[in-house]
């Protein structure tokens, strides 16, 4: 029995020796690499020249010697390409950059540069009316980017083709040339160095995120998206992300703290209150999405009316906020308002959950969808005409006063360490506290007896009940916990947005926190993970907020994006190991190493045989 295992292993390692893959463009390797380096260097130089003659194009690309706007993106991209390409030469100080793939990151980075530069040139000539508006600098960068791309396409491919399909067609070959092998396990560094690397990683992440939010015009944001998409994939293919996630898995608490600190730093990087507000709204959206992840990702209950719980929390907080339009007219301190909001959502969750959770699957989804709409319509009708006057109907509850916590008025800007913290910045930090609580709740409940029971129910409810799990009670618990987390976020949301109206809480709408977008954020990001819904929510909020011009087509584009995602990456952007195995049949390759058994621990079955 035991001899079988090493034999399998050796089979796996020898299987790799198949026909080597040829590059897309047949070039000698040295020439290809030289072309890439030269091309990206030229593109880099081009960013210091003027790209156009007038500052009518946003970002002022007319200055020679000082890159601005889209030029900075090309600059960053070409530096990245250059570094990856030089690392391929085996230069000692740079070799750590590509522990995984050697050449696919170069190709991806070159694609990113080509994409951003090409987009910039296109945008300039389209907005100003013709190619004549391009100054030589743009052509220098553009040609440099093209040369770098050609060179990168000529580099040898990192992985040989699969034995089953030795000669794929062109599209297959291009897709294949973007894949890379997994990096080997890194040597253990001293733990202070590993912690520093984690901090640096989160620092870079924060900078990129803050830059994205701070983009002032949509051209820059599109360029940013192109470059980040390719750059991020390049870094992943290079194996750097795997290394980093290995480190964060090792020092989980440090990584959580680093992420939290990076998130705290965000409002200090924003001088414009509008961008800090985007940050606060993203956090609200992300927190609610994470709460939904308890219900959908862990317990597997498809809830299409989840935004109602956010609404209950917001309405409860608005009623006790001391707003002159509130029908109650009391003013609770913040802590009491938070408890009220969470408790109201909790009760609402139990009231809705108790009858509906006896249903399974699609039936549950339809019923929750109905209840979500019932909430909105009820809030509309409690206006004094068609019902008792509680919520002012469609006018909602406006003029919600700003919070004051320990004499610290969140509505006013404050000076902290020499930087000004605006109103939205204050609320951002308050919301961050809520997010941290929700992250903690999610993590701790997932890693407990209760969390395991939820996953068991999701996997097979009949077997779970046969294992002694009270299915209904635990589903109700997941539903109630999810509801109160949303209620918690709702209490802050009411204050951030000054007013609550029924129209904020519908099934699908153009402004993100609605049930459809929440579910999409969870699925897009990755079900059952913590970072998944956070990233998914950030993308789903940021893209429509930044690209106002496509507001009309938003739902269409959103639908297309979801379909593409389900086709190519059904496990979401951030996949836990489970989901990855669930959706991609990797055979037995992904299983962990067999642990050596302790002495004398042979199974009864083996002993008997």
């Amino acid at each position: 029995m035991t001899t079988d295992i090493p034999m399998d292993k050796s089979n796996d390692t020898t299987k790799v020796s198949t026909a080597p893959a040829t590059p897309i463009i047949p070039l000698p390797q040295a020439a290809a690499r030289a072309l890439t380096v030269a091309g990206s260097a030229v593109a880099l130089i081009g960013t210091f020249l003027a790209w156009t003659w007038t500052d009518e194009f946003p970002g002022n690309l007319t200055v020679t010697g000082y890159p601005g706007g889209l030029q900075v993106l090309t600059l960053v991209g070409s530096v990245l390409t250059l570094l990856f390409a030089l690392s391929g030469y085996g230069i000692p100080g740079l070799r750590w950059l590509t522990p995984g793939g050697k050449n696919s990151p170069v190709l991806l980075a070159a694609l990113g540069v080509f994409g951003t530069t090409g987009y910039a040139m296109g945008a300039i000539s389209q907005e100003l009316g013709g190619l004549v508006n391009l100054e030589p600098g743009a052509w220098v960068s553009g040609i440099g980017a093209l040369v770098a791309l050609i060179g990168a396409l000529g580099l040898p491919v990192d992985q040989p083709y699969d034995a089953g399909d030795p000669t794929p067609n062109l599209w297959g070959r291009i897709r294949h040339s973007l894949t890379a092998p997994e990096p080997a396990r890194a040597k253990d560094l001293p733990s202070w160095a590993e912690i520093l690397i984690i901090a640096a990683g989160f620092g870079v992440g924060l900078y990129v995120f803050a830059y994205g939010i701070g983009t002032e015009y949509s051209e820059l944001f599109i360029g940013f998206l192109i470059l980040t998409a390719f750059g991020f994939t390049a870094v992943t293919r290079a194996g750097l992300l795997k290394r980093l996630s290995h480190l964060t898995a090792k020092h989980r608490n440090v990584a959580m703290a680093a992420a939290f600190v990076a998130a705290i730093c965000f409002p200090f990087t924003q001088t414009n209150d509008q961008f800090a507000l985007i940050g606060a709204n993203i956090l609200i959206f992300a927190t609610v999405a994470l709460g939904l992840n308890v219900v959908v990702g862990l317990a597997g209950l498809l809830d299409l009316g989840y935004v109602a719980f956010l609404g209950v929390g917001a309405y409860a907080a608005a009623l006790v906020s001391g707003s002159p339009q509130s029908s109650i007219g009391v003013e609770f301190p913040f802590w009491a308002a938070v408890l009220t909001g969470a408790a109201a959502s909790l009760i609402f969750g139990v009231v809705i959950g108790a009858p509906t959770l006896r249903l399974r699957g699609d039936y549950l989804a339809i019923v929750t969808l109905g209840f979500g709409e019932i909430f909105r319509i009820t809030m509309n009708n409690l206006n004094g005409n068609s019902g008792p006057d509680v919520t002012n109907g469609s006018n909602g509850i406006p003029n919600i006063p700003d919070l004051e916590i320990f004499g610290f008025n969140l509505g006013l800007p404050h000076d902290v360490l020499g930087t000004e913290l605006t109103r939205s910045g204050n609320y951002y930090l308050l919301m961050l506290l809520c997010t941290a609580i929700v992250v903690l709740v999610f993590r701790r409940s997932a890693e407990s007896r209760i969390g395991r029971a939820w996953v068991a129910i999701r996997e097979d409810e009949t077997a779970a009940t046969a294992m002694g799990i009270n299915g209904f009670r635990l589903k109700l618990l997941a539903f109630a916990l999810g509801a109160s987390l949303a209620g918690l976020a709702g209490t802050v949301q009411a204050h951030v947005s000054y007013s609550v109206t029924p129209e904020q809480y519908q099934f699908a709408g153009s402004v993100p926190p609605n049930s459809a977008f929440l579910l999409a954020a969870v699925i897009l990001g990755g079900m059952g993970t913590i970072s998944g819904p956070l990233i998914g929510a950030a993308l789903l909020y940021l893209i429509p907020a930044k690209l106002q011009f496509m507001a009309e087509y938003q739902l269409l584009l959103f639908g297309i994006a979801l379909m593409l995602l389900m086709r190519f990456r059904p496990e979401g952007l951030v996949a836990d190991r489970r989901k990855q195995l669930e959706f991609h049949e990797t055979g037995q390759l992904d299983v962990p190493e067999d642990k050596p058994l302790p002495e004398g621990a042979t199974g009864v079955a083996k002993a008997g045989a």
Binding site: S445, A456, A466, L581
Partner: protein, 290 residues
């Protein structure tokens, strides 16, 4: 009556009396009595569709029997699967129902659910007992994995285990709830002879831990080796119960499995006549062809 003679002193673990299950007009299980005593391995056999699994489902609360009652160690069981498990009856399924996307260890930990008490608050606030209970559960689960020979694969996903090991994991998961009675629904279905032998050893080892076992099986040799007592279910009714050898020789059992000669079964003379007629018919058709 056979029960009283074989184990007069042993206490009764399971006492099902008059269990009847009707689905509309169909009576799947009709008035079945069955007792299982401590330290016993009892087999339940019968042709396909005899109602064995339905009877199992009645015992474990998955179905509420139309009539009759099921008692475990003297107390009547409530008709809720999780309460039955809590009372001390664990089961496996005929078609393996593991939590496929959980690891082997997590599967067993889920089995510990009823024997641990840590609630949500304890998990959220990490109350003092939480860590200890969690460690205890893990230690207990690893013990069971070692017992079934799966300890080396604790971190694998359940879906990646080979078939035979998935069966073993289902047993380990059931044992995690510390049952007094284990119900196995066709534990060796689809196994080769070596795996079946290993399963046999495992079931004996479980019996030696003081857990009574009730097993449904089609493999007669397996049942004969294993069981102290065998009950035969045919078309929802228990037709015979007793030691394996007695049951094997029982005419009604043979009839149920192989069928009975119908009335006016052909004698040898008739058989010869038919053969002759067939040969005749064949030669005449050949003649037609020409």
């Amino acid at each position: 009556m056979t029960t009283t003679t074989t184990t007069a002193t042993a206490t009764t673990v399971l006492d099902a009396s008059g269990v009847t299950m009707r689905f509309g007009g169909l009576t799947a299980v009709r008035d079945v009595d069955l007792t299982v005593n401590t330290g016993e391995i009892v087999g339940l056999i019968g042709p396909n569709g005899a109602g064995k699994t339905t009877f199992f489902n009645c015992l474990t609360g998955l179905y509420v029997p139309t009539e009759g009652k099921v008692a475990y160690k003297g107390t009547v069981l409530p008709p809720k699967p999780h309460l039955v498990t809590q009372a001390g009856i664990a089961r496996t399924f005929q078609n393996i129902r593991l939590f496929a996307n959980m690891t082997v260890l997590e599967n067993v930990l889920v089995g510990r659910h009823t024997r641990t008490k840590e609630g949500l608050w304890s998990a959220l606030l990490r109350l003092p007992g939480f860590k200890k209970a969690e460690e205890e559960s893990r230690a207990r689960a690893m013990e069971l994995l070692e017992f079934t020979g799966l300890a080396a694969k604790a971190d694998h996903l359940a879906r990646n285990l080979p078939y035979g090991e998935q069966r073993k994991l289902e047993i380990a998961r059931a044992l995690a709830s510390e049952p007094g009675l284990l119900l196995l629904d066709e534990p060796t279905a689809g196994m080769n002879p070596q795996e079946t032998r290993a399963a046999e050893e495992l079931i004996f080892a479980i019996r030696d831990k003081g857990i009574a076992v009730l097993v449904i099986e089609h493999d007669i040799r397996f049942i004969m080796n294993l069981c102290d007592r065998v009950a035969v279910l045919v078309q929802g009714e228990k037709i015979v119960e007793g030691p394996a050898e007695v049951v094997q020789a029982d005419e009604r059992v043979i009839a149920a499995y192989l069928g009975t000669p119908f009335e006016g079964a052909p004698g040898e003379a008739e058989a010869a006549e038919v053969e002759a007629a067939e040969a005749d018919a064949q030669s005449s058709t050949e003649g037609d062809d020409k």
